[in-house]
Symmetry: C2
């Protein structure tokens, strides 16, 4: 063996050792700080507002306080025991943890009850976006025969007018109105309250520039989330809720629910649903429009396969779920304790 | 040098030669047949209907014929010389080739006039989706001060009622109505006509299973289009028009137009526009909501950068543009020749 070949072989052996060392000893420390966000992150996710404002429903303390009471009010249901908080429990991240929710007579709806937290920021409400705002949304379940089951708006007004303690609360919230105890005002008050239901946490601190707020694994999950293409739909401060997308885009997803096309009658929107927001997704299972999937890991795999047609490794799934858990912020504690209801 | 080392070196040299041959001599034949589509392609792009039906506006021959005449009717403009066909030229793929279009007094609009072909399939009309259907859309430009400039619906009705030859045409299209010459019926007739403006071509033959209809390069462009993630928004039979998306999603795109949020008032839709359909994109430049980009190659690069944050090679851009050219179908010839206008 001549010396040049010998030295080449030595070099190769050395490279191999270095390579091994790189693979073995150089494992990234998943708990180290992720470092600051980039301009791309800030552009993609934007900032979460403190309050989700409305040009049509100015927020006042009295209106918000009334809305909070009405949110917990079971006398706006035909059975007298269903309130907004029955299915959207404020101390449970705004959900009931069920696939679908039972109404006043125990009949279950067909779609999963989504969280009320951060919901006012969505482009529209309900899975199919059939109402534009939280104010408009608030009326739906109260009159829905399998939810609160109130027969008419007038029946709601009659029920509330029968509780004299409500009068001053509505008068304070809607000053100058001759008869403020109306179904429209119920919706405005509940909507105003819901506009305060914002969650914030370390994800927001990270987006604001605190490079220590996320760790390396969470950041790796975010990188995978972006690389695979999840952010094409799950963008903005709510990581979703900004657009409608077809479920089963790349690979058909077996389901009977036709989604948004049932509302719009437009074939181009067959199987379209509002893209769910991920801001507190780790706490708001089960998942999908019908609550059929228990595990977040499984949803991530379903999304990669059916929505993006992209392979994902086990490590990527793990990292993405860790990232999603890092999104969970603090609930606004001041609204969670059940208020004293008028006349009760 | 011992024999085992010698043979290893020979093997390495041979591998190198094989590798070179693979790179050089094995060039794919870009003009060969692409082969048939997969289930994924069919699911992603679906089938283009022959007619874009409407549950609210049943299509009849008399209504379509009237709509075709009205489409070319300049007397529904204050200057007497602007018709739908002034900006959406049917013999020019439904566009005027300008960045933005001049109205009755030469004032230009602020957004690019999109093609009318295949438009009825969109989830909504206009760049910001402010009207739900082609019927609702048809009214907008007629009353827009910088387009047709008609002051009121009544003025349109007066103009058409002043042309006695229109009476029987409206009566035939809207039988049984006492006064069928109405602005609402104008919109229904034009909408009905537009629902026939479908383009079809080799892309459709390919999707229907003809593996010879696309060639290898076109298919490679489609593969890149899907791999990069374009199909997350440009899906369905129209390769777009199914959802609203933020322009500058990954990297902010400098522009003043706030898009859909100007209509909805919802901050979550800031810079959102309807995703343009690509079915005849190669013929409908210039591009973007403001018509600011001349070349399709440049748009592809802008989209990859600002919407997806993905690097693209020159070859990928070339292939994707070749793919988009392959989408261009035949115009429905029977509607293109200008009809004889009543009383002219």
């Amino acid at each position: 063996m001549n010396s040049s070949i010998k030295s080449m072989l030595v070099l190769a052996a050395l490279s191999f050792v270095v390579l091994l060392a790189g693979c073995g000893g150089g494992e990234p420390d998943d708990t180290a700080a992720a470092g600051p966000p980039t301009a791309q992150h800030k552009n993609l996710f934007g900032g979460m507002p403190k309050v989700m404002e409305s040009a049509d429903n100015p927020l006042t303390d009295t209106k918000i306080a009334l809305g909070r009471i009405l949110y917990y009010e079971p006398r706006m249901s035909i059975s007298g025991d269903i309130s907004c908080n029955s299915c959207h429990l404020l101390d449970e991240f705004g959900v009931d943890g069920l696939a679908t929710s039972p109404g006043h007579d125990g009949t279950f709806g067909v779609r999963n009850s989504p969280t009320v937290y951060n919901a006012a920021l969505h482009i529209a409400q309900f899975w199919d976006g059939r109402e534009p705002t939280v104010e408009a949304q608030a009326k739906g379940p109260i009159l829905n025969p399998v939810e609160h089951g109130m027969p008419t708006a007038e029946a709601v007004e009659e029920a509330l007018r029968g509780i004299p303690e409500y009068g001053p609360l509505f008068e304070a919230a809607f000053p100058g109105e001759e008869q403020p105890v109306t179904f429209d005002n119920v919706a405005l008050a509940i909507g105003a309250f819901e506009r305060k239901l914002v969650t914030r946490g370390k994800w927001d601190r990270w987006l604001n520039g605190d490079g220590n707020a996320l760790n390396v694994q969470e950041r790796r999950g975010l990188d995978a989330f972006m690389d695979i293409g999840c952010t094409t739909c799950h963008m903005g401060p709510n990581l979703g809720g900004s657009l409608f997308q077809k479920m089963g885009l790349v690979e058909a997803y077996p389901m009977e629910d036709k989604g948004r096309s049932e509302i719009t009658g437009n074939a181009a929107e067959m199987y379209f649903f509002k893209v769910p927001a991920l801001r507190i997704i780790a706490e708001t299972g089960p998942y999908m429009h019908d609550g059929s999937i228990e595990s977040l890991e499984e949803v991530v795999r379903i999304m990669a396969k059916h929505q993006l047609g992209k392979p994902v490794t086990d490590q990527q799934v793990t990292d993405m779920v860790v990232f999603m858990k890092a999104l969970t912020g603090k609930l606004p504690a001041e609204y969670i304790a059940e208020p004293t209801l008028p006349g009760m």
